[in-house]
């Protein structure tokens, strides 16, 4: 502290009462007058910057690096031990539509933007310690300049994707009692159980709600950081930056797990999202209640549909819960 303010040291030894008041005011960021117009130009010292520096450099970058590394490590271990979750019965050859075209487009639109945002964002957080030595100072700075711009523009587009996802998948992602059972059976990842699930299983719902909540936070704080011309105080920017980074890191951890499960982790999952169709065997193993609902739907007339759908999954999940 004193290294920063050699003159403060001098003044405090002078022990003049009002000088001390002045410097206390200055350090507290008391606003005065300045002929230089602008935001906070009338403050001498903005003291929370040092806390922000500590939180960003030590807690977020330091802890964040560990959390990301451990996530990748854990997924790799899981893959080595458990391997792919395969279909336990042979494919039936009968295909069922799981994701319609709109859903698939929305998924990959948001996913692409997410990956762009994650890479450019992580570059600003870790690039200095990881990439500069590797590609050179100038090359990294050139890249980082584009990374910043791309990040700033891709952000709001990503948020549009989030909002749409929230709208079309909200109904399917409401938590129901049956999801508790899914979690208690560890989603079938450990052990040989095939826990019951509707169109979305407990894990998918958890990911959806992480996306919605952390996504909301990154959106609000990101928009704030996107527009430094709105005359925000530095404190607002510092807090926004912290929330933005923490929420984004949580999303990246979630996305790593999601990508793992959706690709090499589960047989047949990715093909569902790419082609929109899944094998009936797959549907039965992973989303039995959903399959039942679909089957029931096609055998009832359209007027009765909605009512029956709900009561079927309701009844089934109640029996399942009793059994467990």
């Amino acid at each position: 502290m004193f290294r920063l303010f050699p003159f403060l040291l001098l003044l405090s030894t002078e022990a003049l009462a009002d000088e001390r008041t002045f410097w206390r005011q200055a350090r507290e960021g008391v606003e005065g007058y300045s002929a230089v117009v602008g935001v906070e130009t009338n403050k001498l010292i903005q003291a929370t910057g040092s806390q922000w520096l500590y939180i960003r450099n030590e807690l977020i970058a330091g802890t964040g690096a560990w959390v990301l590394a451990l996530t990748v490590f854990a997924l790799a271990c899981f893959y080595l031990i458990r391997g792919k979750v395969c279909l336990t019965e042979p494919r039936s050859g009968e295909m069922i539509e799981r994701w319609n075209k709109k859903e698939r487009w929305l998924h990959f639109y948001t996913a692409t933007l997410f990956i762009i945002l994650a890479i450019t964002g992580l570059s600003l957080l870790f690039g200095r310690s990881l990439i500069i030595d590797w590609v050179g100072h100038e090359a990294f700075a050139n890249y980082a300049e584009y990374a910043k711009i791309i990040h700033n523009y891709a952000g709001p587009l990503f948020s549009v994707g989030l909002v749409l996802m929230g709208l079309i998948w909200f109904e399917d992602n409401k938590f129901r009692k049956i999801d508790g059972l899914w979690f208690r059976q560890l989603g079938g990842f450990i052990g040989n159980k095939h826990p019951s699930a509707g169109r979305m299983n407990g894990g998918e719902k958890a990911w959806f709600w992480l996306l919605m909540t952390a996504g909301f936070l990154v959106t609000v704080t990101g928009l704030n950081l996107d527009f430094p011309n709105l005359e925000q105080y530095r404190l607002v920017m510092q807090i926004s930056h912290i929330i933005h980074s923490v929420a984004a890191l949580l999303l990246i951890v979630g996305a790593l797990a999601h990508i793992y499960i959706g690709t090499i982790g589960t047989e047949g999952a990715l093909e569902g999202m790419i082609t929109g169709k899944v094998d009936k065997t797959w549907a039965k193993q992973h989303h039995d209640l959903w399959l039942e609902t679909l089957e029931k739907q096609s055998s009832t007339t359209c007027g009765e549909r909605k009512h029956t759908t709900e009561s079927i999954s309701q009844n089934k999940s109640e029996t399942l819960l009793k059994k467990s």
């Binding site: 290294r3 920063l4 303010f5 050699p6 003159f7 001098l10 003044l11 030894t13 002078e14 009002d18 000088e19 008041t21 002045f22 005011q25 200055a26 008391v30 005065g32 007058y33 300045s34 002929a35 230089v36 602008g38 906070e40 130009t41 009338n42 403050k43 001498l44 010292i45 903005q46 910057g49 040092s50 922000w52 520096l53 960003r56 450099n57 570059s123 600003l124 957080l125 690039g127 200095r128 500069i132 100072h137 100038e138 990294f140 700075a141 980082a144 300049e145 990374a147 910043k148 711009i149 700033n152 996107d226 527009f227 430094p228 011309n229 709105l230 530095r234 920017m237 510092q238 930056h241």
Partner: protein, 204 residues
């Protein structure tokens, strides 16, 4: 090696804002950017106090610690400079700096920040000394000319001091001691030596 520092004597600063103007003119800084500013606290009250502030060329500069492209460097003279060719205008240095020294010209839509600009202690930048590129990006390199920053050089009350930290802090503490002595003397007799500063002006 000398470590360059600024000290502003709040007992002497009369808020004439000449340092701001001198800096702007000498360095031809970008539009909307002021590398130096004068802040007055308790304006209009008996304990009104003004200080001229710019980059303080910190020893362990917070700005340098957060810069994602690591574009800051400290010169042999202890001046904290940065490389505008590397800067990406992220604003992190501005969030970390206690003095609000880093400034940004707007560049492009939505308030996108351009390259950061801040006080260079009139020491130019990484470009070759006295080159046109150096002047254009960073302003005058007075240090290389053997001169001190213009703001301090032309300060009419010598409130703003710039130079080797050891030298100017000695000067400053000597001032403070003498001021104290003068104060005591003038308290005892009506004809004591006159002092600089508000305490005389307001007869506190």
């Amino acid at each position: 090696m000398a470590r360059m520092k600024f000290i502003c004597d709040d007992d002497r600063c009369i808020e004439c804002d000449a340092c701001i103007t001198a800096c702007k003119n000498e360095n031809e800084v970008p539009w909307g950017v002021n590398r130096r500013r004068v802040v007055t606290l308790n304006d209009g009250k008996a304990d009104e106090t003004s200080i001229s502030v710019a980059c303080m060329h910190c020893s362990d500069a917070p700005c340098a610690q957060v810069c994602p492209v690591n574009c800051f460097y400290t010169t042999e003279d202890g001046v904290v400079l940065h490389d505008k060719d590397l800067c990406i205008g992220c604003g992190y240095c501005f969030y970390a700096c206690p003095f609000g020294a880093p400034q940004f010209p707007q560049d492009g839509a939505f308030g996108n920040r351009g390259k950061m600009d801040k006080c260079t202690f009139c020491a130019g930048g990484p470009e070759e000394d006295f080159s046109e590129a150096e002047f254009e990006k960073y302003g005058r390199n007075r240090l290389a000319e053997g001169k001190l920053p213009l703001c301090a050089e032309m300060c009419s009350t010598k409130a703003l001091l710039a130079g080797d930290g050891d030298v100017i802090s000695k000067l400053f503490s000597q001032r403070a001691v003498e001021r104290q002595l003068n104060q005591e003397e003038s308290d005892n007799s009506a004809s004591g030596p006159k002092l600089w500063g508000w305490k005389t002006a307001y007869k506190e």
